[in-house]
Symmetry: C2
Subunit: 304 residues, 2 copies
């Protein structure tokens, strides 16, 4: 089974930083992520630039890459609605991520719509993207619990996934937006999804709010989840969640995979260089670990 690494730090990380990263630096960081050999890079989101000024240059970033699409790495962008999709298509985006929150409260805060309304709307938007020749990955946010509502019923999540599958979508991400997931819950929810929709390719997205991003990602891997959203240096957090913290750290997770003889093709050093550069720019210690300790070198006598 191939393990897919999708770095979302350029979107889910940068959107909460007070430092706005200049466009040229964003381009350089995306190039660094591509050079690492990971499978997908989320380059930004098409949201209201007044609400999220850190993402105001997403059109420019996407246009830069529109005629420089890397051969192996998919470049994705997040859109919330038709307007975002239009901007994305105009900027040459070919791979969209869209989602709906399983929590009504979170959904209304993010979109002004209930979960049911938002699900119908996002499916329509996703179909528009497909009709325009793009690819779409759909996600269920707050799938493991919500900072506003608390627990979310597994049946709510599987119902949304079934709607996505019935509408013709196959890659579905379950996002732990608030960081509430525990490893047993991860396994039980993904198994419920796999039972409800056996053909689905499962993706996951974990936040480290309670220190559990890595153990949840590992639990997901052990039950057959194939695609992992993560962020360089563990940056991140949703500005509209009640309490949020960084994402699963890309290079720390890749390091664990490599210790298990998985994804030996990813250049960890490229990811570490990026994490260190981001730490320098943001001027504070970022959550990841390996960019400080350095990766484990197995040679006898070496540090580590």
């Amino acid at each position: 089974m191939a393990i897919i690494i999708h770095d979302v730090g350029m979107r889910d990380g940068l959107q909460v930083e007070t430092t706005v990263v200049p466009t040229e630096r964003k381009v350089a960081w995306i190039e660094q992520l591509i050079a690492s050999g990971i499978d997908a890079v989320q380059v930004g989101s098409f949201v209201n630039p007044r609400l999220v000024p850190q993402m105001a240059d997403t059109d420019a970033v996407c246009r830069h890459f529109a005629d420089r699409m890397p051969a192996r790495t998919r470049l994705t962008a997040l859109v919330l609605n038709e307007k975002g999709l239009e901007r994305g298509l105009a900027a040459g985006v070919r791979d969209f991520c869209m989602g709906v929150s399983a929590s009504d409260t979170h959904s209304r805060k993010n979109t002004g719509m209930s979960t049911v309304e938002a699900t119908a709307r996002i499916i329509a938007t996703a179909h528009e993207a497909i009709d325009a020749g793009a690819r779409v990955q759909l996600s269920v946010q707050s799938a493991f619990g919500c900072g506003f509502e608390g627990a979310i019923a597994a049946s709510t999540v599987t119902r949304i996934v079934s709607e996505f599958v019935d509408a013709g979508f196959r890659t579905i991400s379950l996002a732990d937006t608030a960081g509430h997931a525990t490893p047993r819950q991860v396994q039980s929810l993904f198994r419920a999804v796999q039972r409800a929709a056996p053909d689905v390719v499962c993706a996951c997205h974990f936040h480290d709010t309670y220190g559990l991003a890595m153990v949840n990602a590992w639990a997901a891997l052990e039950c057959g989840v194939q695609s992992f959203e993560a962020a360089f240096a563990g940056v991140g957090g949703c500005p509209f969640a009640a309490v949020a913290a960084g994402n699963l750290c890309t290079e720390d997770f890749v390091h664990l995979l490599q210790r298990n003889e998985l994804r030996g093709d990813v250049h960890l050093d490229a990811l570490l260089a990026l994490a260190n550069e981001a730490e320098q720019l943001f001027g504070r210690p970022l959550p990841g670990v390996i960019h400080r300790t350095g990766p484990l070198r197995e040679t006898a006598g070496a540090r580590g």
Copy 2:
């Protein structure tokens, strides 16, 4: 199966801090750990005070508690040799932790003896402690790999465990001194130990050098390990290992257990107060997470 929490921060944490914690503060922190309702607290180590000045007052700390032994919580102390044992017994210690490194290089650096020599020596010291009416937990350090030697053969670890069991000891801790363990290795090594010595009560001790302490502890729990060494706020590190980082964080791990309806009797707030106080004293962010985010409150509408 009961899960046992053994906080070793007062030893494995404080020994690497440049700030020497005053004796009265140590006593107060130990009282706070006892008040939390965890099962065991390692209060210090009987080592050369010139080499580890942070532990120079271990005799005084132990004497303070000798006639104030808590009813539910065991107070343990680490000793490396006969001399340490004598000091511990004189200070009223009734529960000793002793160990040997599975890595010859690490063993020689720590004790001046090979692993084989050190194993015989520590078994003799442990028997002395038993003869004096004390209890002993034995451990295998560098069980999952060594910063100096790299990989450690599982057979080296199971051989030492078998020697400990043959000598009459039943609770054995495997310590990931350098933080090299991965979850699959944790499960494979503990299963090998369980096969080699079916009656053994397994304990574990993980460092977060590569961001894997939590996932390794969870892997251990899932394969039947009962006792978990951890440190408040995730403090820690061995000054004689090549690269070392904090321990599994006690309150973060207890929080995960409680989300799985385990150890609801532990007062998380007492642990959080201690972590925050330690962070204030040491004047830098400590590795734990929950003392900053706060625990997840399940009530709808609450933060978290």
